[in-house]
Symmetry: C2
Subunit: 465 residues, 2 copies
């Protein structure tokens, strides 16, 4: 415990009285807890650079008044007494901020991972390996670009799973895609690019990063096979953010044809494409389509990937792969950035991947989620039937329901909330707030227990029937 | 392992040939390693959604040509062969970026922590506690403002050690002070503050954050008791960054009188002070001075603290305490920010602090560093004598040497480098590049073994004698 009184030699009040008043106030306001040991007289005298007699006098006064008690050979301790007895304005408030949504029973908007979808005991084993055998490395600062061991594993992984061509110098690790986009905005500004085209509806958190960095956002509508290329051309954008593997929230997978056209757009306009390959691993039907980066011969694609949805949300590790020209810009002053990702977690993930555990985990996850996806699909069909049109079924962790009802999106969300179900609507993700014919609701099912799906969907179906 | 060939049904080349060529290329370019197992025919057929016969034909061809070998009941494996035999343009480069400064023997600029100054076994124990008993929490995303458990401990700690008044809602946790400053710049912009006054010389990494966020930097010279208040007033700044406990790199401790004047400046100008309380724990002589935040009655101080220099550099946890007005702005849209600090490490640190281990660690650290500081001081005096004026001796982890020599700062750095010693000069941290009478060198001694100090200083002293 530290005591840092603001003692003033220039006022007439004796030092011991100032110290006595300070400690008393600390006790009354519960900044020092009951039965806590105070520093010894010798120790405090040294720390505060004042005489032992001063400290002794102050402690003596507190003892007399009952604020302290002493145990011989042990020292001075704070007494326990009924604090409500004293007037108390300075108490530390400790409201539990997490208690906000406690009455929600089924949350179709949360990011909770079911226990059987992540083996914490296995992860602990890898964390322990690093903390035990690689502690030498942990005495040193984190590599600003991300640990080399992890970048090596990422390069191998994206090459095999997504056809991405890169070497470790092009890979930047960050805690979350948003953090990496922050870095990207600084590079783009140096290229004199200050506008970014976004799929509309699209991923809000990415949009916000660009907004916070004073970029102009150009919303481009989504057509059935992806972003509207004509509108993109008309926008005069030089930078375009897409998620071709699984457009959020529509779930549309961009066709190869569309991908190649988009790459041509970038080459012809001296532009760049940000390919957010979000959830590309969780594809349940149909052929895998290689990443746009793998088709890119002209260094036009910035590739983004993330482990967060694949492990647990509390482990935030993402990566960005820069084309050569942008990477050169980054390397020029990469030391002005900082690496925020835990070094221990980076190294643990590297070993986890190296030993094949990550791909094993992904296979299991894909199987589990495919099953859950099917349950959701069948349950929605069974209980909602023709009242809904279902979208986004091939991949990812949510369904889109276009609902044949006279209720508005807001009304549905409100009615669901009253039944203790949390859902969100597509409007949250659009910039063009058009009047839509029918409301569209997004059901993220990751955090819903498979056994609860039937009840949750039944309850929900009653809202618009 | 994943294989993602870009197969095209519309060209005349048979699918199995396309697949064969793809796998061959993957092997030749070492994207698939020797002796690695290929996916089974059944599995790949399912993944790629093409017939088993196609896969079988492709594998057969690769077997015949010797790229693969097969083990009955086990599967297909990549052969080992001399790769230099083949033309190979796509090899993954794995240059070890860390091998850059390997010839440096004594690095007076690094952040390495000696082993006896951090007990990794103890830290592992706390990490394990969280990974074992709090894994439930780790299935959920990190609190955007930082884990409540850690914020509670921080509030108690800064109150006792630095007199800081705050409740947990005002505390924001981030991975490094720079990350927190990024958040602060967005709040400041909303207050229409786009300039920041900085001590000159001062902490570059903080300055860079403001520069990256398009702030105008107003360098204010340092006088012997801290920032030049008259120049600050003339600058018309509304925001001022100071490190009163230990000005970097001069080591000046700001007097109480100066602190109060600075608070008055803020109140009178409707301005804010960023108090970076960097290394306040590592004070070896003299009275402790409470933080500026503890004197602040008008909500003018943004308080910054960090655990990074106190634990190991690979654990990046810092905190920012906002005054009410700014905190209200932050709370309004805190969900547009992200929390990048490892949740596991946050929770481990919270228990570490709660059980008193942190303050115990700090006491030990202070003792060790005070000893090392004294060794440095005595050794410099012994070997450099009157050739140097020593500064910054009361606290922190470095000394400043003003050297009586005709050599320039650059020449000293270069000569030291040739003797395999890395040092840096004060010019690195100044904006006003004035012609100084005598060069000033910064010696960070944290990463130098106590037993090596004598040799390192002897070598260094020979440069300017």
């Amino acid at each position: 415990m530290y005591l840092i009184p603001n003692l003033d030699l220039n006022i007439s009040k004796p030092l011991y009285v100032q110290l006595y008043e300070y400690i008393k106030q600390e006790i009354l306001s519960e900044r020092i807890e009951q039965n806590e040991k105070l520093p010894s007289i010798r120790q405090l005298s040294k720390n505060l650079d004042i005489s032992r007699t001063t400290i002794e006098n102050a402690y003596q006064q507190l003892l007399v008044e009952g604020y302290l008690y002493s145990i011989p050979q042990k020292g001075y301790f704070v007494s326990s007494f009924d604090k409500t007895f004293f007037c108390n304005n300075n108490k530390i408030e400790c409201i539990n901020e997490e208690k906000m949504h406690n009455n929600i029973k089924y949350d179709f908007t949360n990011e909770y991972v079911e226990k059987h979808n992540f083996d914490f005991n296995l992860w602990r084993k890898y964390m322990n390996k690093v903390l035990s055998y690689e502690s030498e490395k942990l005495y040193k600062a984190t590599n600003v670009q991300g640990e080399i061991e992890l970048r090596q594993e990422i390069v191998k992984y994206v090459r095999r799973s997504r056809g991405v061509n890169a070497d470790i110098h092009q890979v930047i690790i960050g805690s979350g895609v948003q953090y990496l986009l922050n870095i990207l905005t600084t590079l783009m500004k140096r290229m004199n690019i200050k506008e970014c085209a976004f799929e509309d509806p699209g991923f809000n958190r990415a949009k916000n990063i660009f907004i916070n960095n004073n970029f102009n956002i150009l919303p481009i509508p989504i057509k059935e096979n992806g972003i509207d290329l004509q509108k993109l051309g008309e926008s005069k954008a030089k930078l375009c953010y897409v998620s071709p593997s699984h457009q959020f929230p529509t779930g549309i997978v961009m066709s190869v044809d569309q991908r190649i056209k988009l790459l041509k757009w970038a080459s012809q306009n001296d532009g760049y494409i940000i390919e957010d390959d979000y959830n590309s691993e969780l594809r349940y039907y149909g052929k895998p389509i290689p990443s746009m980066q793998s088709f890119d011969k002209n260094g036009r694609v910035i590739y983004l990937g993330s482990f967060s949805t694949l492990l647990v949300p509390s482990i935030r590790i993402s990566y960005m792969i820069l084309p050569t020209k942008l990477n050169n810009l980054y390397q020029e002053n990469k030391n002005t950035y900082i690496q925020t990702t835990s070094k221990t977690e980076q190294l643990a993930l590297a070993v986890f991947m190296k030993e094949g555990m990550f791909e094993k985990h992904i296979r299991k996850l894909k199987k589990n989620y495919a099953k859950k996806n099917l349950i959701m699909l069948n349950t929605v069909k069974k209980y909602m039937g023709n009242t809904v049109e279902i979208g986004g079924t091939d991949s990812g962790l949510h369904l889109l329901l276009k609902i044949n009802t006279n209720l508005s999106e807001e009304e549905i969300i409100e009615k669901a909330y009253k039944k203790n179900i949390q859902v969100c609507g597509i409007s949250k993700y659009t910039i063009y707030k058009k009047i839509k014919n029918k409301p569209i609701i997004i059901l993220s099912y990751r955090g819903i227990n498979s056994n609860d799906i039937e009840e949750a969907i039944t309850l929900l179906s009653k809202i618009f029937r």
